[in-house]
């Protein structure tokens, strides 16, 4: 077992990669009552076309990673929620574009709960009949999101930006695509992506690391895994342009929702570059659109935005884009004003005072995040799958130069690479 100390932050991570390939990370938080564990696979909604070394290429229906997540909770003994409940743990799971995460939090019976987590995720059990039944539940989940204007606006924007990359497909799929999912396909995805070498386990809380590592190692050594070759993921060639400049969705809303974003065509290929770009973009977006920015205050005073106005940046090796916006009385004027304001900053450049303030804010928000075991586990794992050490964020922020931010400003806001997604009521069309 290795220890990775982060002295400045008063944190130490204990790490081990087991014989079957599983990576285990333990972060002790002395004095904490709760233990929080995530068991994650590097497998999400975008992984719909793949091949394991020495096997056939496979293409699967949209929404299958999420469907599999639902079905994993079924066990021969019934529902695994019930077992967690009996051990006082609350369990859950989620699927995103690039990972599926199973988790629990508990204050007691930690060893048992860790074993339950490992055992249920490593034991696929479902029948053709139960797969059919799940389609009803997931169908209701899909319908719930269909009625949610924020969700529709957000995914509408990604859909407008991407022609072929599966990031534009709804994570849960559609009623039609899930109707085609079979038990056999679920098992095929399971055996490909739930191999321990494609997964990691993160434990944070008031635990004793040596003991926990031993519990996990014993559990894993009792199960047999053949070595698995590399997984190749296929993505069709994605054009640099956006698919649609504007997408309008009709839903009953009190005010139109308007999100816009810029699609990046020059992507990072290695971890340091990816983290560097992400930190630069986060500072840049905060300087431009944060609640203390000049643009935010002006647009707010012009009643073009509300206090729900927000921004984010998503950067991966195979896609990267920004998302900006919120509610507005007038999407057209908002977009025109934003463009004027951004162009104004592009002409002036960003000043050092705003840059330093934003950098300080980002460092503070990283430190505050470390209070929350849930956030640590989730973020650490997310970065792990990109081969990034989450704790490098601090020194990356500390070392960023203003010049880099100004370069990002010029490179990111390419008006030809912008899409807009609007959700509005029938009457305001």
């Amino acid at each position: 077992m290795k220890t990775l100390p982060y002295e400045k932050l008063n944190e130490t991570i204990f790490f081990n990669q087991l014989d079957n390939g599983l990576k285990v990370f333990i972060l002790p938080k002395p004095g904490f009552k709760k233990t929080f564990a995530t068991f994650s696979t590097n497998y999400g909604s975008v992984d719909n076309h793949f091949q394991v070394e020495g096997k056939e290429k496979v293409k699967v229906p949209d929404g299958i990673a999420h469907f599999l997540e639902h079905k994993m909770f079924e066990e021969p003994s019934g529902d695994v929620f019930s077992q967690f409940s009996s051990q006082g743990a609350s369990a859950n799971a989620f699927t995103s574009f690039d990972r599926t995460v199973y988790l629990f939090s508990a204050t007691e019976q930690i060893d048992n709960n860790i074993e339950t987590l490992l055992n249920f995720v490593q034991n696929p059990y479902f029948t053709a009949e139960s797969v059919e039944k799940e389609k009803g539940i997931i169908g209701q989940e899909i319908n719930m999101y269909r009625d949610n204007p924020d969700w529709r606006c957000y995914f509408g924007l990604i859909d407008a930006m991407y022609h072929t990359h599966p990031v534009h497909i709804d994570i849960a799929g559609t009623i039609e695509s899930i109707s085609r999912i079979t038990k056999e396909q679920l098992l095929e995805c399971y055996y490909t992506f739930y191999h321990p070498s494609n997964m990691n386990l993160f434990i944070v809380g008031g635990v004793e690391p040596e003991h926990i590592m031993q519990v996990i190692t014993q559990n894993q050594n009792s199960k047999k895994y053949e070595k698995q070759g590399d997984i190749e993921r296929y993505f069709d060639n994605e054009p640099a342009s956006v698919k649609e400049a504007k997408k309008i969705t009709i839903l009953p809303v009190s005010l139109p929702k308007c999100l816009f974003g810029f699609k990046e065509s020059e992507l990072e290929t290695e971890p340091t570059g990816l983290l560097q770009r992400e930190c630069e973009m986060k500072i840049l977006m905060d300087i431009l659109f944060g609640s203390s920015s000049g643009i935010y205050q002006k647009l707010y005073d012009e009643k073009l935005i509300t206090d729900q106005f927000s921004h984010e940046y998503n950067g991966q090796y195979d896609y990267a884009f920004s998302i900006i916006g919120g509610e507005t009385r007038d999407p057209k004027t908002l977009l025109k004003r934003v463009r004027e304001e951004i162009e104004h900053v592009m002409n002036q450049g960003i000043n050092v005072v705003d840059f330093e303030r934003s950098r300080k804010k980002k460092i503070g928000s990283f430190l505050r995040m470390l209070n929350s075991p849930e956030s640590i586990a989730s973020e650490f794992t997310r970065y792990q799958f990109k081969n990034i050490d989450m704790f490098d964020i601090l020194k990356t922020y500390e070392n960023i130069k203003l010049e880099k931010i100004n370069n990002r400003l010029q490179a990111h806001f390419d008006w030809d690479k912008m899409s807009v997604s609007i959700v509005q009521s029938e009457e305001s069309k």
């Binding site: 409940s85 006082g88 005073d301």
Partner: protein, 429 residues
């Protein structure tokens, strides 16, 4: 087991609660200002924090105000306006890095108390009134927010169900008030309301972090100069027992939706300060707050009728609400199954698993509170608000003593009063 012990004192009739601990990387600060929920004041009081967050005499300009927060390493600052029983509570919150982790000349705790104190007690005033610009902009923001309730159908249905159920009680009021009253407010009337609010509200200030009662006390003396305060404690609640109403009220509303929202309102007639409170928590847990609960198991897992189906207990008001999203055609079937669960609880149809799992889960939730500064504050404030002192350990103890007889005796007094259904417009109506 170590109890979180708040040290308490009073300054200028403000109650002060401090928990010295080194466990977190931040100082957590909450200020609660509570007033009776009433039709004439709910709207102006709800608007006050929106105007206060625009600027103080120290930082009159909103941009300066927000920049100051950024300069404190991006201190978290927020406020919330909520209903707790028949009170309207306005809460301000700050979350700021412990100086130990950063190089700051002046203590961040001191800077934060000064910031919060000036925000709440020394707002930006011109000609003996709030700024016209700020009031007009924030009236617009609140109006958009009230109108925006309809965008999130889950919340909208929940709010509508409460409105129908509590038609003749203050609790029907939305925490932010009503648009018709908002329009009448001017910058000078609001300033008068503000002075009344500050004088009459019950004020509780909480600090959790690496500090002491003495330190915080002297900061409050310095930065919260509120004089001539009247009210210093919450008045005993009024009870609204609606036992005369034996007929269930059914309300159907039509909107352009894909999924139907089925909500129910039940009167528990037991609140936080009652000895039966732990029994009410157990009832709600078995009915619908966990994945092993009757609603999840029967409505979702057995019948595939819904993606979500759960219940919530408002402990200060003494009502239980049920929430579910269903296929519109399944209305009758879902109502029947949910009613069956309520009847089963009344008839004592509660198995061992439901009982023990619910106890384990509630006790886990209560223990986890101690890992989060703001959750500890929230839990303690529940005690303060209800006038009933009960530590989480005591509550766990009481939960463990609840048996099936007690639950079904309690269930006997629970009345289903309201069924609310939000559906599409295609119905026969």
């Amino acid at each position: 087991m170590s109890k979180p012990l708040f040290e308490r004192t009073k300054v200028n009739q403000i109650r002060l609660h401090v928990l010295p601990t080194k466990r977190f990387k931040t100082y957590a600060i909450s200020v609660y200002l509570g007033s009776p929920l009433s039709e004439s004041t709910v709207t102006p009081f709800g608007l006050i924090p929106f105007v206060l967050r625009r600027g103080s005499m120290k930082y009159p300009d909103t941009k300066q105000f927000r920049e100051k927060l950024d300069d404190m390493y991006g201190a978290g600052f927020g406020f919330d306006v909520v209903k707790r029983g028949d009170h309207q509570i306005i809460k301000f919150q700050m979350d700021v890095i412990n100086d130990h982790f950063v190089n700051e000349k002046e203590s961040l705790l001191k800077q934060s108390m000064q910031f919060l104190g000036s925000t709440i007690t020394n707002p930006y005033i011109e000609n003996d009134a709030f700024s016209k610009t700020y009031v007009s902009a924030e009236k617009n923001t609140v109006q958009k927010r009230i109108e925006g309730l309809i965008n999130d159908k889950i919340r909208y249905a929940a709010e509508r169900c409460i409105q129908e159920m509590c038609k003749n009680e203050p609790y029907r009021l939305y925490a932010l008030g009503q648009i018709s009253d908002l329009q009448k407010i001017t910058s000078s009337t609001l300033y008068e309301e503000y002075k009344r609010w500050l004088r009459d509200a019950v004020i509780d200030i909480y600090v959790v972090g690496d500090t002491s009662l003495n330190e915080v006390q002297s900061l409050i003396e310095q930065y919260f100069p509120i004089h001539n305060k009247q009210q210093t404690e919450y008045e005993a609640k009024e009870r609204y027992i609606n036992s005369s109403q034996k007929q269930i009220k059914s309300v159907v509303e039509e909107l352009d939706v894909t999924q139907g929202k089925l909500n129910m309102g039940l009167r528990a007639n037991v609140t936080y300060s009652d000895t039966e409170y732990p029994t009410a928590l157990m009832y709600n847990g078995i009915l619908g707050s966990f994945p092993h609960s009757k609603l999840f198991v029967n409505v979702r897992e057995k019948e595939s009728l819904a993606y979500y189906s759960s219940s919530r207990f408002e402990g200060h008001k003494g009502i239980i609400t049920i929430h579910s999203g269903i296929e519109i055609n399944n209305y009758d079937k879902a109502v029947e199954i949910i009613k069956k669960q309520i009847d089963d609880l009344r008839n004592g149809v509660i198995n061992d698993i439901e009982l023990t799992h619910t106890k384990a889960m509630i006790s886990n939730q209560l223990q986890e509170i101690q890992d989060s500064a703001f959750e500890m504050i929230g839990f303690d404030f529940n005690n303060i608000l209800s006038g009933k002192e009960r530590t989480s350990e005591e509550l766990i103890q009481e939960i463990n003593e609840v048996n099936v007889q007690a639950i079904s005796a309690f269930a006997e007094k629970v009345d289903l009063e309201t069924i609310y259904f939000l559906r599409d417009k295609k119905g026969e109506s």
